[in-house]
Symmetry: C2
Subunit: 283 residues, 2 copies
Amino acid sequence: MTQIFIIGTGLIGGSFALDIKKLNPNATIYGIDNNEAHLDEAIELGIIDEKATLKDLKRAELVILAIPVDATLKVLPEVLNHIADEAVVFDAGSTKEDICAIVKNHPKRRNYLAAHPIAGTEYSGPSAAITGLYENKTNIICEVEETAFKLQEKVLKLFSDLGMRIRYMNPKAHDKHIAYVSHLSHISSFMLGKTVIEKEKNERDIFDMAGSGFESTVRLAKSSPAMWTPIFQQNKTNVIETLDEYINNLKHFKKLMEQENFGAVYKEMETTNHIKDILNGIK
Amino acid sequence: MTQIFIIGTGLIGGSFALDIKKLNPNATIYGIDNNEAHLDEAIELGIIDEKATLKDLKRAELVILAIPVDATLKVLPEVLNHIADEAVVFDAGSTKEDICAIVKNHPKRRNYLAAHPIAGTEYSGPSAAITGLYENKTNIICEVEETAFKLQEKVLKLFSDLGMRIRYMNPKAHDKHIAYVSHLSHISSFMLGKTVIEKEKNERDIFDMAGSGFESTVRLAKSSPAMWTPIFQQNKTNVIETLDEYINNLKHFKKLMEQENFGAVYKEMETTNHIKDILNGIK
């Protein structure tokens, strides 16, 4: 594949571009972005070779869609309208149910692979793109059977070359599980940041007293609202369920403290320490 | 100072021992710990030179108390009973009000400096001790005026040699602020870990889908319950206040989602993004 189109030249799309160029120096990387400044920046940083528009997609071999999930709902069907029969498109959205539904009956459904590479940082835009972002990361593929076999093969080969692990899941299960391990973390972090900022109007106090623990817990509160708002919107039902459970667990912990039941407080933490073993598995 | 006693040979005490030995190779580091296995491990790892008991404290020049804050309430007055008039003791506890109160009228109050080095990791025990832990970290000193001037000077010189920034605060303000920037982060992280573990009984799913964002947000849920339970107990009132505010912020976010007011959801996150600038200040 030498004609590669990246729609959305930010952290996710840009990082794919950098790695693909490294794997295949003969490839030409075209960038499509509704933010002209991002396109200029992406060219300057050597992320893309040329600017393009949707009309140029007819000569694409591979299209990577890495834009907010609300925009994906509009752009993905259009992309499928433009591409040739042999071309393949994958997206990188953090929700899968609505996206798979929107193209369910599209005549080119078999040219699309629904993907969610579990990779990223709290930064965004072309300058956030880095090489090696996808190495040793998990990539969740949904409804793989809906993609033409030959096209699956091409994209899975690329994921394998990038060093990714593949897991197959249906969109419903994906959205439910990811609400717990990703979407809820972002809200817990944003609300922690909000709580501390509200209280500590004098920022100097936060600055001086906050250690690496606080920093790690609020890291995700730096994330892009433009990316995360549509994710919460599309995954509303699951996210609200996780929030309910999280709030109930916090209330229970507070009640134990109010009752001075510190034996139970100890047990709550001891049981959760088990997360160590789970996280060791991630590394 | 060459006669240094470390009470509690874990992460905090052990890391002080390693750095002091590096600064002053002539110093003898004595370890006191109610866990005999930790003392053996600390000797084996070269953290301490010799085992000791409270009775040996009469020849101490410097005593570092790095044990859980409930134990500190019992051990600190005893330590002051044992030491010589020229000796100085500091603690490293994450609460300061109860600890300062317990020695308020002790005849050797002026031999004690109340300190809280904002440093640590989620690990514990002698094997968690590392060199350089305190470099560029903040150390909050409370009631500095209650410590004899000459003894203050000695300890502050040590903190300066270790590369620490000093901030002075009263114990009440310390406990209130630290509840926000440290104690609440730990609870938010523990409860996030609990929520996800409860839901995802099949750990394989967490393992596969969790990315670096989740890992960073639940990192503190690996922390030691033996250290944290007494902290929450001593700082109960402040911690409950922070939990109330945190829970209210989460409920508000949930309500906005239920009302489909995603414009306001965006604004919540956008405002909190300001945490970036605050965290940049920490680095």
